[in-house]
């Protein structure tokens, strides 16, 4: 769909066409589910892993597995090099000024909890306000609820536009006040697919002296994210959503800010000197990496970041805009009973993500996804860790199809046909036409 005629052997990543030609890099995609070829459209929940990431993991465990930062022997030195090189690859991927600004954590959830329990605990007082939105993932709601319960801070939630397709920026602006200490918003919504106007939000937050955290779980895998121009003070993301292993993710923060944050978890690696009753702490990022880290996983995350950078995140984004638009348009055309959430492609200057959460009138999302699974099509159903947003949308759950760089227009066709069959299947039962 993107580049053409790259049939030469071992092309450079930046010349590999996305979509079908990329599928050979993802061994898992070549399988049948319920007797039908797998169509994996649950990428917003987790992405699949290219060979280069699997190889990085395998090399770690079969060539140089050792604990990091502690040993002088050859395996340990190599493991340390690879681990720190992975941190640098992530820094490069998001254009961080220094790899010291990248803290390796388990997942984006831990990263947000880390900020809430360090910067938050030290800087948020009774009556201070934190601006979130009704479209946040639970990971960007619950940590602030726990902080607010401890400190007496007040949570304010940006509401949706009247058509319920994206965050209402006028409402956001009206919530800002000198009491606003923090704005923490989702960069790309995992249900609506809408993209935040980060520059505007950053400018407005800065104007009232508030810090800005962006949940980039759904942006880092899919578009260029450059922390030097994004305007955020912290961003968080999970490796498993951008072609990396599970069990690892990162927090990026401006270095002065990280330096101002007290440690959270205590243990090995995060210390300078330990005495029986007190200790001194290492500078960031080590200060926030207590204990043996997710070594192989971080190395896999670095490999994923490097691989995606090689593909070119502008190309990734362009491909996803194309397939995302196709997905939206075909899905919306299946039946008048199908409602797709979020902005219509083209209606928004910043575009929309290549995911489509939807419902079919008269059918439960779980029933829809169960029947799609019978046709080999993997989509998610449920509240997608966004219960408040589903309350706003007036539904208990939704189904969601989310595409990535290896999905093809042909797969979208299979999904859409299976959905039409599914609707017909339930209609038939109700009209009594079945055997």
């Amino acid at each position: 769909v993107a580049d053409v005629d790259t049939a030469s052997p071992a092309p450079a990543p930046s010349q590999v066409a996305l979509g079908a030609p990329l599928r050979s890099e993802f061994p898992i995609l070549d399988q049948e589910v319920n007797g039908r070829p797998l169509v994996y459209l649950d990428n917003a929940a987790t992405s699949q892993k290219p060979r280069v990431v699997l190889d990085a993991l395998s090399r770690c465990y079969t060539e140089y597995n050792a604990n990091v930062h502690r040993g002088v022997h050859a395996l340990s030195a190599r493991a340390t090099n690879e681990y720190e090189e992975a941190r640098a690859k992530v820094a490069t991927f998001i254009n961080a000024p220094s790899s010291r600004e990248v803290v390796i954590v388990r997942n984006a959830t831990e990263a947000i909890n880390l900020v809430a329990n360090t910067w938050g605990s030290a800087n948020i007082k009774q009556g201070d306000e934190i601006i979130l939105s009704v479209a946040e993932h639970h990971a960007n709601l619950v940590p602030w609820q726990l902080l607010a319960a401890r400190t007496g801070a007040v949570l304010r939630h940006v509401r949706l536009t009247p058509d319920k397709t994206q965050l209402d920026m006028d409402h956001f602006r009206s919530l800002l006040s000198p009491r606003t200490r923090l704005v923490s918003l989702v960069h790309v919504s995992n249900v609506l697919g809408c993209v935040l106007d980060a520059a505007y939000v950053a400018e407005q937050a800065r104007a009232v002296g508030a810090k800005l955290l962006l949940d980039c779980c759904q942006s880092v895998p899919h578009m260029p994210v450059d922390v030097t121009s994004l305007g955020a003070d912290w961003i968080v993301a999970s490796s498993h959503k951008f072609c990396g292993p599970s069990g690892v993710g990162f927090l990026w923060g401006r270095y002065e800010l990280l330096e101002s944050m007290e440690p959270w978890m205590g243990g090995g690696e995060m210390i300078a000197d330990v005495y029986l009753d007190a200790s001194t702490y290492a500078p960031p990022p080590m200060r926030f990496e207590a204990g043996t880290p997710a070594i192989a996983e971080a190395i896999g995350m670095g490999a994923a970041a490097e691989w995606l950078r090689g593909l070119g995140m502008d190309r990734v984004h362009a491909y996803e805009e194309e397939i995302g638009t196709y997905l939206y348009e075909r899905l919306a055309a299946v039946s008048p009973r199908v409602s797709v959430y979020g902005p219509r492609p083209g209606s928004c200057p910043r575009g929309r993500a290549s995911l489509a959460a939807f419902n079919v009138a008269g059918l439960h999302a779980t029933d829809v996804s169960t029947l799609l699974d019978m046709a080999g099509v993997a989509v998610r159903s449920g509240h997608h860790c966004a219960q408040p947003l589903h309350r706003e949308l007036g539904v208990p759950a939704s189904a969601r199809a989310s595409a990535y760089i290896y999905n093809t227009a042909g797969e979208v066709d299979v999904f859409v046909e299976a959905l039409a069959d599914t609707i017909k299947f339930f209609d038939d039962v109700h009209s009594g036409s079945a055997a």
Binding site: E85, N95, A198, G209, G312, M313
Partner: protein, 300 residues
């Protein structure tokens, strides 16, 4: 393409090292056997002059080593630096001795222009990964930091004797507005829109005590830049900080070649900014050179 987090710029050639260091590299390269190289390192350790007890203090200690290491510089009247060092580990003491021998009698500029990559030429399996417990790298960096401190202190002392405060001329091209005054390094607001530029300014001001410093953000001009770079910058809306022009006038540059000056600034900004800067266009002049250039411009 290598990732920028760890890689330093291209390895220096031996001919670019101070003569004292060239000798050491040569000596190690003549020994083919790794165990013999370790033996040689231990001989270096035995030749290291004892370090006085009063030098074994926290401010001289290299952080993050499993073994204890101390380094102390002395800037003598000849304008050159002489080092003392010690360690409770014999191999680390050997590395310290090697650095003491290789970098004593060098000018600050020479010391600052050395890249740590030379250690790889010695065949001692020393890693260059920045890590808390990379004894060699942490020792080398502390030595460069102490050199910079001496240079800065000296420049400041001279300045206070003779010169007015250096004037910074922030000029902006496009959307990258320079924000802080020359002396304003400490009070740069943390929510600055231009963290890279502020940091460059802070660093260069502290280390070079420049008579003039101009930092110009050309990033906007490069927003259309092809390939992966543009992908990371062109889309995000706000101002990137990727391409800069820096003009600096400082007497620290006296007697240094252009290459060494540039390398010194690269070194200064390496750890903090190398990864954020895609392109740095540098004009480095001594006060005398600057006056001459100005005069020439006036004529032209």
């Amino acid at each position: 393409q290598q990732s920028r987090g760890i890689s330093t710029c291209r390895a220096q050639k031996t001919s670019e090292f101070p003569a004292s260091l060239q000798k050491i590299v040569g000596a190690f390269q003549m020994v083919p056997d790794p165990m013999a190289r370790y033996k040689q390192l231990l001989f270096f350790a035995t030749k290291l002059a004892p370090m006085p007890a009063e030098d074994h203090v926290p401010e001289n200690k290299v952080e993050g080593c499993v073994s204890q290491v101390w380094v102390v510089p002395e800037l003598r009247a000849d304008g050159k630096i002489y080092w003392r060092a010690d360690s409770d580990s014999q191999l680390t003491k050997g590395l310290a001795a090697l650095l003491v021998t290789g970098l004593s009698g060098c000018t600050p500029a020479e010391i600052l222009s050395v890249q740590p990559t030379f250690i790889e030429m010695l065949g001692l399996k020393q890693s260059l990964t920045p890590s808390r417990n990379n004894g060699f790298l942490n020792m080398f960096r502390l030595m460069q930091r102490k050199t910079l401190e001496l240079v800065a202190a000296q420049a400041k002392a001279k300045q206070e004797e003779a010169e007015p405060t250096a004037a910074v001329t922030p000029t902006s091209n496009g959307n990258g507005a320079a924000t802080a005054a020359a002396s304003g390094a400490a009070d740069v607001a943390p929510e600055s829109l231009t963290p890279v530029q502020d940091g460059m300014e802070r660093k260069l001001t502290a280390a070079l005590r420049p008579r003039e410093l101009s930092i110009q953000n050309d990033s906007a001009q490069h927003a259309g830049h092809a390939g992966a770079m543009a992908a990371r910058h062109g889309k995000a809306g706000a101002s990137g900080e990727t391409h800069f022009r820096v003009e600096v006038v400082s007497e620290v540059f006296e007697g240094m070649s252009q290459v060494k000056r540039q390398r010194m600034i690269y070194q200064l900004l390496e750890e903090e900014f190398a990864m954020g800067l895609h392109a740095l266009s540098l004009v480095t002049r001594t006060p005398a050179e600057a006056d001459k250039a100005e005069a020439a411009a006036g004529r032209g």
